[in-house]
């Protein structure tokens, strides 16, 4: 029953995308419905229903947080590029994620690439290697804040503060 609900949810979501693609044209709706059902069927194989459910309200909060941070990131890099002395202090930094495997980790790694000062280099199990623009800045706190937001999106218990991390090399 839950699987049916998931498929139905995905079909509706895909139909919305189709509606946007065709710019609200109703004549292509029948074709779109067929495509949406086929894609939903394929998506159930590729991305089966996970244990973690997405919380809509938390997702919107995350989107707002992400938008704010990515604007800061863009301005931050632009400022560094335009500054004559090119103030960067690059280096690698490794964090151990407490998020479970799969979508939560991927969402965090990709979001961090667009947030100020960090770029995900490699994700190997719970070990996420970041490249930092400025190793003097508070990378660790930024990552933990983003991690908590991602955990809330998936309705996961918040990562505890005691988890260890190490500055890489």
């Amino acid at each position: 029953m839950k699987t049916v609900a998931t498929i139905l949810g995905r079909v509706i979501l895909l139909l919305l995308v189709w509606w946007a693609f065709t710019e609200g044209d109703v004549s292509g709706l029948g074709f779109g419905l067929v495509i949406a059902i086929l894609v939903a069927a394929v998506s159930m194989r590729l991305y089966p229903r996970g244990a973690a459910r997405i919380r809509p309200v938390q997702l919107w909060l995350f989107v707002l947080f992400f938008l704010g941070r990515s604007v800061v990131a863009g301005i931050d890099v632009a400022r560094r590029v335009l500054s004559p002395s090119l103030p960067v202090d690059p280096g690698y930094f490794t964090v151990h994620l407490t998020l479970p495997e799969g979508s939560p980790r991927w969402l965090l790694a990709n979001a961090l690439s667009l947030m100020p000062g960090t770029l995900s280099v490699s994700l190997d199990g719970p070990r996420l290697e970041l490249h930092c623009l400025d190793t003097q800045s508070s990378v660790e706190e930024d990552v933990r804040a983003a991690e908590q937001k991602v955990a809330r999106v998936f309705g996961l218990p918040l990562p505890d503060e005691t988890c260890h991390s190490e500055g890489a090399r």
Partner: protein, 104 residues
């Protein structure tokens, strides 16, 4: 109407400026990874401004959603490709050659 057009103009110019700065970063930074920082973050912001300007002018809700969808997909693509290039650059660097400027 004129007010909307002025706002749109400002947003478009700001967006193009950010794209230009992102490209400037490509020339000013010496390291592959630093260049990716400049390209992904600054260009993402530039695209954001341009999308915002276009949404103001959208003829219908569906077109507005479509334009926003373009931004979301471009964001996902840019984050993913940035990650892949960064990983390739890191692997090429090798673990023995210590990257310049890294400490801790």
């Amino acid at each position: 109407m004129a007010f909307v057009q002025v706002v749109q103009g400002i947003l478009l110019v700001t967006g193009c400026l950010f794209f230009a700065i992102g490209t400037l970063g490509l020339f000013r930074f010496s390291d592959t990874l630093l260049r990716i920082h400049a390209l992904t973050k600054v260009d993402n912001l530039g695209l954001g401004f341009i999308i915002l300007a276009l949404v103001l002018n959208a003829a219908s809700l569906a077109i507005g959603v479509k334009v926003l969808l373009i931004w979301v997909v471009a964001l996902a693509a840019s984050a993913t490709s940035a990650h892949l290039i960064a990983r390739a650059a890191r692997l090429q660097q090798g673990d023995d050659s210590e990257p310049k400027g890294s400490h801790d």
